[in-house]
Subunit: 206 residues, 2 copies
């Protein structure tokens, strides 16, 4: 299969969110321009993305919301479910553990790590916590491929190195620093401070 | 002045982060290709972005790190400092209050709001907390233009409406739903679950 880009996957994930909201509101059919409008992109882009899935709408009735949602889920999710590890049980780490606890049937944070012994050997928001020294062993045993980094900037690279050695293939990095990983490991950064700076810039009268 | 795009501001903010790291490491001069390499973009893009600031490097010595950093800060920051409001004092809200407490001299969260009376009328991570009913009054009094939404999805639109009425011009929205605002209000979404889904997708063996 042709390699799907980062941006396409991001948009499919956004369509899924919109389709779920649409279903809750009781709407069963949706035209590409309506989905495009909700997503803030062009209808041509929506049609092009959904063509990758091989999903066709009816020109007169639009897409079947339920069918399209199933099709996107099948494409994005691992039917067996995926485990995620989190490193750094500070405020942000806890917030993320709380947020994901039981929310996504196909995606769950199954192990959290920290260097502080007071934070390990317990369960936080139904996630088992371990000392960082157990990272390699736990991640290998559980076959975890995805990790979240919520440690301070100066510890992020060391943690990323350990994660890669343990077999992690994708990292969501909240530390405000770019981590170096082999080219076949996917990294997505979320630097909350940087995003807030941007919003603050656009808030000011020009 | 020509309207600067969202993407340019995002990159300038990233350059600033990299330049700060560079200074800490003791490096005083940097070529555009080095900055580009750290930022994961092309050198031509870096030069084009910095030209907007009117900042020129020397072809033989590169950019002066300290000078360029000052120039970017002058461009991005309000010299008088900017206040930010946060709505939703849950786990994520608290994590963000903690993270920003005293970290950025030019950007501080000066008011937090919640509907739960147990969470208001106190101070969390040096930020004063208020009941949501005081939002309009407090934001107007403090002249706040930027806000962060960390409430659940079903409350996000109502909160966004209140914020806009109070004069907010930029919103960082963590609720997993798109909020509708007038076209002159800037909104940036961070949907952590959606980003994690993308990382999980790219972690799987294809």
């Amino acid at each position: 299969m042709k390699k799907i880009s980062d941006k396409v996957i991001g948009r499919l994930s956004l369509y899924r969110r919109i389709l779920r909201e649409t279903l809750i509101l009781g709407t069963r059919k949706l035209f590409s321009y309506q989905l495009a409008n909700s997503a803030g992109i062009s209808a041509a882009q929506v049609r092009q993305d959904l063509m990758i899935l091989g999903y066709m709408g009816s020109p007169t009735q639009g897409y079947d919301v339920h069918g399209l949602l199933e099709c996107i889920e099948e494409f994005l999710d691992d039917p067996a479910g995926q485990s995620v590890a989190l490193v750094g049980i500070g405020n942000l780490g806890r917030a993320i553990l709380d947020y994901f606890s039981g929310r996504r049937p196909n995606l769950s944070i199954d192990a959290a790590f920290d260097i502080n012994p007071e934070k390990t050997n317990g369960v936080i928001h139904s996630c088992r916590c371990y000392h960082l020294d157990q990272l390699l062993q736990v991640i290998e045993e559980k076959g975890i491929l995805t990790a979240i980094i919520t440690v301070p900037a100066d510890q992020a690279q060391g943690v990323a190195d350990r994660l890669v050695r343990a077999g992690i293939r994708g990292i969501l990095n909240f530390a405000p620093v770019r981590v170096k990983v082999p080219p076949d490991v996917f990294v997505q950064d979320i630097d909350i401070a940087m995003v807030l700076e941007k919003v603050a810039y656009f808030s000011r009268p020009k």
